[in-house]
């Protein structure tokens, strides 16, 4: 019995208790650190208005381009005298909002396409959907984003739409692969023999059993989205001003590189640490779910 169970099935059969989290933390210490960082990221993003020392848009005319620590600005100010730390914290808010909305939108579409495609794997439905996904993947993400964002114009909503196009094929790939496996499971045949309709099988038997690898992909995609969103804002076609965003802060800092490096270093560092945390968490979850990876 125990031999036949795959990694995901094992995880699926593991009861969701606190001990599961403790086991994850002991087996994957890096993952646990990442989890702490991510919690911190989320807390900062949500509580930014209460944590930030200054209004991110307030211009301190006396302290323009002051280095960190001077004039009561822990991470310095930019060329308009705005507090870099406060802006970075608010930037986390923008990034989190966009990333969550993107994962929700793109994840949902990718999931539906992947699950349907996997269940009907090998038929024309599958072929048509997958060729479209191939085409979407063949366009480098930044080019695709540039293209769509340019057509739609800069706004938070349009950034989410553009970024979703990046999420859809990846989620689709994972969901389809899992569904191809699941549809061969006897419990799907059992469901059919009992008289369950196809939509019911997909939702009640497919979805709950493919969530684990999807979370891994979701975490890795979160990292990708954070970078892509910043890249768009950096190029000036993402989040429009005055909303604080890491990407635009970097692009503003670019003109002051030698005079005020903190304008570039601080938001970039927070961005990189966030990306790193999601990458580490994704890796740790994958290793945790796959016993073969444990060395």
């Amino acid at each position: 019995m125990s031999i036949a169970i795959s990694g995901t099935a094992r995880a699926a059969r593991r009861p969701k208790t606190r001990s599961g989290l403790v086991r994850f933390a002991t087996e994957q210490p890096l993952g646990a650190i990442a989890l702490v960082l991510i919690t911190l990221f989320v807390v900062v993003a949500v509580l930014a208005p209460w944590i930030a020392p200054y209004d991110p848009l307030a211009q301190d005319r006396v302290n323009i381009l002051t280095p960190p620590g001077v004039g009561g600005h822990p991470a310095g100010t930019d060329e308009l005298g705005r507090d870099v730390l406060s802006r970075s914290l608010y930037g986390a808010r923008t990034s989190l909002l966009i990333a969550v909305a993107t994962l929700a939108l793109g994840g949902l579409i990718g999931l539906v396409i992947g699950v349907v495609s996997g269940y009907f794997g090998g038929t024309w439905v599958d072929s048509v959907l997958q060729r479209i996904m191939d085409a979407l993947m063949a366009i480098p993400s930044i080019v695709l984003l540039l293209f769509v964002a340019a057509l739609l114009g800069p706004s938070v909503r349009n950034t989410v739409i553009a970024l979703s196009l990046l999420v859809i094929p990846s989620i689709n790939r994972v969901a389809r692969g899992e569904m191809l496996r699941i549809r061969e499971e006897p419990y799907v045949e059992a469901a059919r023999s009992v008289g369950c309709s196809t939509p019911r099988i997909l939702v009640r038997y497919g979805l709950p059993n493919l969530m684990a690898p999807l979370f891994v992909m979701g975490s890795l995609l979160f990292a990708v989205i954070l970078i892509a969103e910043s890249a768009l804002s950096f190029l000036g076609i993402g989040t429009p001003p005055p909303t604080p965003s890491w990407g635009r802060m970097l692009s503003e800092g670019r003109s002051q590189l030698e005079i005020a490096p903190w304008m570039t270093v601080v938001p970039g560092l927070i961005l990189s640490v966030s990306v790193l945390a999601f990458n580490l968490l994704g890796d740790a979850m994958r290793d945790f779910l796959d016993p073969k990876q444990r060395r």
Binding site: R13, Y187, S193, V194, G195
Partner: protein, 333 residues
Amino acid sequence: MIVPGATPLVEAHGLVKHFGDGKGLFTPQRPPVRAVDGVSLTINRGETLGLVGESGSGKSTLGRLILRLIEPTSGTVTFDGQDIATLSKSRLTQLRKRMQLVFQDPFSSFNPRMTIAQVLTEPMLVHGMGDRASRIKRAKELLDLVGLPSFAMERYPHQFSGGQAQRIGIARALSTDPDLIVCDEAVSALDVSVQAQVLNLLKEVQRELGLSYLFIAHDLNVVRYISDRVCVMYLGKLAEVAHADDISERPRHPYSQALMASIPSPDAHHELRTPLAGEIPSPRRPPAGCRFHPRCSQRIDGCDRDEPELLTIGSNSEARSVACHLFDPTSAR
């Protein structure tokens, strides 16, 4: 037991299932796998029909054809007088209520994310039987029927032993009050002591509810214990159909004899006259003539040329069907 005079519950005619004969855009054409190649059988009301054969004989495919879980290449199945091959999707779904399936590995036949309560009420829910409370009540009754305590309801499948899990599988199959249950190697994965318990449970349930079983297994010993009649299957075709006692005491077809001989018996007075040699050939390229002839110890002239038909032999009480040239009066000896 067989009710005389009544129409059979299931009648299958000339069932054929070939896999993989579709030509892909890039795949060269290959001969199809002839999993089931012209099988006719009947299952009477209240009867247990055994279906025995080596793995690869097509018996599981046959079971799924009868339930129309897979589409036949040709042939018909009637269930209680209705041709299930031509039923609309919604009518077929209604009919699913009356025929159920029990799996070899009970664990993998349950959604690992569902509690036993959900597993047992799912079929009733799908068929719109009763309200939530009455479904839960019935699920508890079913657990009681198969000998499990009602606190099993909130557990997950992996928290049970193999025998317990198979009892839950049987309870699920019973939940819609079906007329037919197909048991596909339902006890093969269990320990011998547990096998007997589950087999007795199946017999008990049948006595109480009067349903029919199609009992599929590779182990003739198990099949003859539970069945009224037994079909012996070889490479997609029926070799012999007879009463369980006749099969175990007087097997006629050389393949049935070989299967019987392979059962280890404590009183070894059976002479091992036909040991089964070699492997079952590929159903992609079945042998010409009688499919069993390459492995048959009683091969005669013509076995490798003419395919024997399934013919009824013997008198009323001992009537049976055999597909073998040895018993065909018309075949040239």
